[in-house]
Point group: C2
Chain length 200, copies 2
């Protein structure tokens, strides 16, 4: 039984690394199995088919992400610190390591045609949104909803850009950009009522 868990873990890790290396979900199950030091048949034995293996890998990535966020929140106190923690967690090294980036990109593609992938993606969206809302509400009141939407999209967009720009992937800089946007949004709501958005 613990043998099975080990195998599953190994295969999932191999899936992420292999996709990360080749950049595409078009890697073969054989390549993944080989990297896991296992025969191709075993991957099918444990996961059924290739898509299920990939989705298991994404579930692992999302679980790790959730763990990181929770850990960061645990060490923070007060709305602003907690928001910073969420932002930092979204650009933690673990999200750029291995093949997480490539996995995410392929995940987006798959989410268009796979109901399960779409479900998982929606889960991520909901989690991020509710994490932001929790600490944005006390700071921005009625504007919280709109700010949360913007921050979430900004996080995704920055992740995309930083991930796809070969040269220097400095995750810290991305987190700073989000913080700057958050500052601007908060200052703006305090300073003066935005005409188009909700009032604070």
């Amino acid at each position: 039984m613990s043998k099975e868990l080990t195998r599953r873990r190994d295969l999932i890790a191999a899936t992420i690394r292999e996709i990360g290396e080749r950049g595409t979900l078009g890697v073969t199950v054989g390549q993944i199995a080989k990297r896991a030091g296992v025969s191709p048949g075993l991957a099918f034995h444990y996961f059924g088919d290739k898509e299920a293996l990939f989705l298991a890998a994404m579930r692992t990535i999302l679980r790790d992400y959730g763990r990181d966020v929770r850990a960061a929140l645990g060490a923070a106190s007060g709305p602003r610190q907690r928001l910073d923690a969420v932002i930092d967690a979204n650009f933690a090294d673990s999200h750029f390591r291995d093949g997480a980036v490539a996995a995410w990109l392929n995940f987006y593609v798959l989410a268009q045609s796979s109901g399960e992938a779409a479900r998982l993606l929606a889960l991520y969206h909901r989690r991020l949104h509710s994490n932001l809302m929790h600490d944005l509400r006390p700071l921005a009141g009625a504007s919280a909803e709109s700010i949360a939407r913007r921050l979430a999209a900004l996080i995704d967009g920055l992740y995309l850009r930083f991930a796809l720009t070969r040269h220097d992937v400095d995750a810290g800089a991305a987190a700073d950009e989000v913080r700057a946007a958050l500052d601007a949004a908060l200052v703006a709501t305090e300073c003066h009522e935005p005409r188009r958005a909700a009032r604070s």
Copy 2:
């Protein structure tokens, strides 16, 4: 000779639609050719291989995007109006129509392993950035650079989210979000350091 142009156009249109329908670059050249009302061989005759066909399709999408932006800018006057125009153009219907969304997602995946795709993507990034900078400089001065980076990422992130969320793809709402972010950024810079109007 104009026959060739017609064929190329048809094949490119078919590529975008086919990818849009299936969601993946994993469509076969045969399917694309069939949709274009042409034999598979012809696609290879004109484009060489599948990747070249797809990149030609992306070049078309980017060219259309550039055209939209230029048209919108032509009808605008003053920095703020021009920024609004750029933002609107980025969420014009044409970017969501057909298979543009699916093409973009697969383009991101390909940009990881194809130099040409990466080059094209960088071109898009540069264009967007310089469009934003042109009219942000007079409005935000020294903050322009950072605001432009944030707006560009926000645009990408919102596009992703709106594209991947089946239910309500209201592009206008996305544009409003970007405008709200722009307002906040400008208000924030004004509040922070009440400054004289710009240099350019």
